[in-house]
Amino acid sequence: MPTPTATQKSVDRANPAPHLGEFHFGDRAFKWFTLSMATSVFLLIVLIGVKLASGSTLSIQKFGWGFLTSSTWDPGHGVYGALPFIYGTVVSSAIALFIAVPLSITTAVFLTELAPLWLRQPLTIFIELLAAIPSVILGMWGFYVLCPWLQAHLCPWLKSSLGFIPFFQGPIAPRNLLAAGVIIAIMIIPIITSVSREILRSVPGLQREAAYALGATRWEVTRIAVLNYARKGIIGAVILGLGRALGETMAVTMVIGNDPKIPKALFASADTLASVVANQFGGADNELYQHALLEIGLVLLGVTIIVNSLAQLLLKFTNPGLKPQH
């Protein structure tokens, strides 16, 4: 698709017929109208930040920075610390990335470089459909199908083969951190895959042809000429996936067990920033409780905005023409 460059656009489109004189009233009004619609995104970002911050003043004043480092979450006694949720979010996202990153990148490589042409389109559609499964449905599936399977098969196997590592010890809870990690992985794989695929597709064909001309095999072309070239963009894709992983809510809430403690092992129940809000905000019956949960939202917002901005910067730098991702 021929994307006009910035300068062309400002000359051609902003006022295609400058000699006709000034803008008419209708033109000016329409321009300001669309401008106000477009800039609403800034307003929304500010609104989200301000509302969460002003909604959590009580908790911020009472606990200060200690909120982030305290591991006690006891609504009954009005003591709130976010560390268990930060821990749960970090660990579940890490498990998810550990599973999703290799699978997504190899799948993207298969889709763009190695798969037979007739297979690429249907596989891509399947991956887009996977991305479209609502979180609550994946959560329900996780609750009734994945969790029992993990508890009966994968967890005992991990325990017996990797039990010498502290992460893989202790009793196996029916719903646990590992299940949350697996569910999040399923949810972010389509995102990382489709963004990586766009990145790989944008690698110039000349790059591949040059490697083929040197006698490289298909895989060598991919590894040397394509993957090396696309590395930065793929890192951007992974960080974008991390942004989604950190904020996943419904599916995680349904499979993680919702226990606000810092577990030693992956087989224990835990809680994440997003899941504790989903689980407790509706029942928060006093103002400090609500403020503490809103502050958790604020923490989550801060982290996701930083992570997403980083991802966007990496993707834009390496690939200015990249399409918006959903």
Partner: protein, 279 residues
């Protein structure tokens, strides 16, 4: 030696092809599993009652999800009233006006907004709408979904408007048509199919959102008659029923999940098929 090396390299290449193919199959396996289990558990409960009856009291059998299905459609309509105009005309600004610098920031902000977790939108609208009104409401649910649609629609609209050839703009200007009429009557009409596609994709994306609805409109056992009352929705009803200890409700949750997934998938597939030529 050289020949052996060469065949080893060819072998590695073939092996990697097989490995990546295996990974791709592994990646789409959950899709097949989810569909399989939803069909297996859900189809049995899809009957006339499911689509026409109100939810039964938990523990009692029978009932349906009629109000949840209608509620989801109502919420999508409300959300569209907010999200579509702001998103589409924002996309018009990005494509037709604006300095490249400002537009870069707007795009950046929209992409960042797309990454804001849905649960956070729910909290913000709770502070903004539910708390001042002292009640959860269909209005709050519609607002939260509508706000989430804005950045999605803005980016897809911009993308399709940019595809309209510049010659259209020049020709209209040459005929002396004012710019805003050119945009509304020529540019936007030309790109209408693409804009509708973007709106449909955004609808498919938010139709399954549950997290933002928990605090804004957490279910309703009856029909909703007012914007200021809570409204039931399919995702919420699935979430609520799926965690109950009653078999009949869990079966209905599977059925609801099947209906929701079919709805979302149908929108997605039709959109992909319609726009296939563009890829």
């Amino acid at each position: 030696m050289d020949a052996a090396n060469h065949s080893l390299r060819k072998f590695t290449s073939g092996l990697m092809q097989a490995v990546t193919c295996g990974c791709a199959l592994l990646v789409i396996a959950p899709l097949a599993f989810v569909f399989y289990h939803l069909l297996k558990q859900g189809v049995g409960s899809l009957n006339w009652n499911f689509f026409t009856k109100l939810p039964a009291v938990p523990g009692e059998s029978g009932g349906g999800m009629a109000n949840a299905i209608v509620g989801t459609l109502e919420l999508l309509l409300l959300a569209s009233l907010i999200g579509v105009p702001i998103g589409v005309f924002g996309g018009v600004y990005l494509s037709e006006y604006g300095s490249s610098r400002l537009n870069r920031w707007i795009r950046f902000a929209a992409d960042v907004l797309n990454g804001v977790p849905s649960i956070i939108w729910g909290m913000v609208v709770w502070v903004l709408v539910v708390k001042p009104m002292h009640t959860q409401s269909a209005l709050a649910g519609g607002i939260v979904l509508g706000l989430m649609m804005i950045p999605l629609i803005m980016r897809t609209s911009e993308e399709v408007l940019l595809l309209v050839p510049n010659g259209y703009r020049e020709a209209a200007a040459a005929l002396g048509i004012s710019q805003w009429r050119t945009i509304v009557q020529i540019i936007m009409r030309t790109a209408l199919k693409g804009i509708v596609t973007g709106v449909l994709l955004a609808l498919a994306r938010i139709a399954g959102e549950t997290a933002p609805l928990i605090f804004t409109t957490p279910g309703n056992t009856f029909w909703n008659h007012s914007l200021t009352d809570p409204i039931n929705s399919l995702p919420y009803q699935i979430f609520y029923y799926s965690t109950l200890p009653y078999d009949d409700q869990v079966r209905q949750a599977w059925a609801g999940a099947l209906v929701l997934l079919l709805l979302v998938t149908a929108i997605n597939v039709s959109v992909r098929v319609l726009t296939r030529d563009r890829r």
